[in-house]
Symmetry: C2
Subunit: 208 residues, 2 copies
């Protein structure tokens, strides 16, 4: 899953001149669901949207507060074009999850956002409609998120493999070890943006 997150002063959606929803300060999230996405990707994206520190604190210190910390709103809009593969200059969208599957999947993401934060703070568009999305990007501040199922870049992969090998070595030298640990599958590829990897994510959950 890919998400383009824009920090906004205000954002709204209209369909054929009719206003559908609007938020004040907060985040406008454009969400591109791929064929390969699972609940794991939902968990990751929801956690990141709600906990990313994209706002100043009360003293103006940048990058210190999340949308939940500041009690700001989220406008989430489904955006299949983010799962685009370019064939020369023509976009191809076969990697995007088809609408009949992505609509319940997307509703599940909204539910998850609402239950983790507050239902009234999460707004959305009109799934599948031709919309005008009015975004007042504040800064501008724009972040791209890629969820764990997305393929990892080779540098990250090499780094992770080395770390894994180092761990294996240390384990084989160490005095005690459970067989289960050694047999544990290699973790799935992580978000290339999340340089701290899976451990970082766990610690970040503790913080919030």
């Amino acid at each position: 899953m890919k998400a383009i997150i824009q920090r906004v002063t205000t954002a709204s959606v209209s369909v054929g001149e009719v206003p559908i929803s609007s938020i004040g300060r907060g985040l406008c999230v454009l969400l591109g669901i791929s064929m390969e996405d699972t609940q794991k990707d939902v968990d990751y994206i929801v956690r990141k949207i709600l906990n990313l520190r994209l706002f100043d604190d009360e003293n103006g210190r940048a990058w210190s507060k999340s949308v939940m910390d500041r009690e700001y709103e989220v406008l989430c809009v489904s955006q299949f074009t983010l799962q685009c593969i370019l064939k020369c200059n023509k976009p191809d969208f076969h990697a995007a999850m088809p609408a009949e599957l992505s609509q319940p999947f997307y509703n599940n993401i909204l539910e998850h956002l609402r239950s983790t934060y507050k239902p009234e703070m999460i707004k959305d568009g009109q799934f599948g409609a031709y919309m005008q999305v009015h975004i007042q990007n504040d800064g501008p501040v724009t972040i791209e998120l890629v969820s764990p199922s997305a393929p990892m870049d080779p540098k990250q992969l090499a780094k992770q493999e080395k770390q894994q090998q180092r761990k294996e070595k240390q384990r084989s030298k160490g005095p005690s070890e459970s067989g289960r640990e050694r047999a544990a599958p290699r973790p799935r590829a992580q978000d290339p943006n999340a340089s701290s990897g899976a451990d970082g994510d766990v610690s970040s959950e503790r913080e919030t």
Copy 2:
């Protein structure tokens, strides 16, 4: 380099309530320049922005016309936050090109856009200023572009290596071959979005 391209009905930039620039129909491009970017990345991004088929033709056929084909405008805004690495939930921007280097680099991109299209069709923001970027995303349609210097995903890399090996085999069987061809360095990693790779890009240039 990363670019977030939003198809817009209208877009504008203001700094402290003062309007700086605005466009009607066209593309709003948020541009994140990395430490590793070179002229090759500029050439790629400029070509893609101007030639991507994100607009309908006169008969309403989707994904058939570029911003140049339709004679629409481009609003380009520098956006270092796209070169973000997440440390837990805190964004880190050390991968972004520092402002003293990225400002001339960014101006070069604008120049290149203007000379390839028409100078009056390319607008921009105010480099380094705290801006409000008003984006009326039409659709919405949002595309993420990553230029060739960005690391490639492992599947693409494996595929490209196999193709390379196949070519080498065919060459060694073939009746004639120049030494220069064999000694040619492996092409740089391509945009993971551009599945057609370098050849596709060349052909796409011919089309336009």
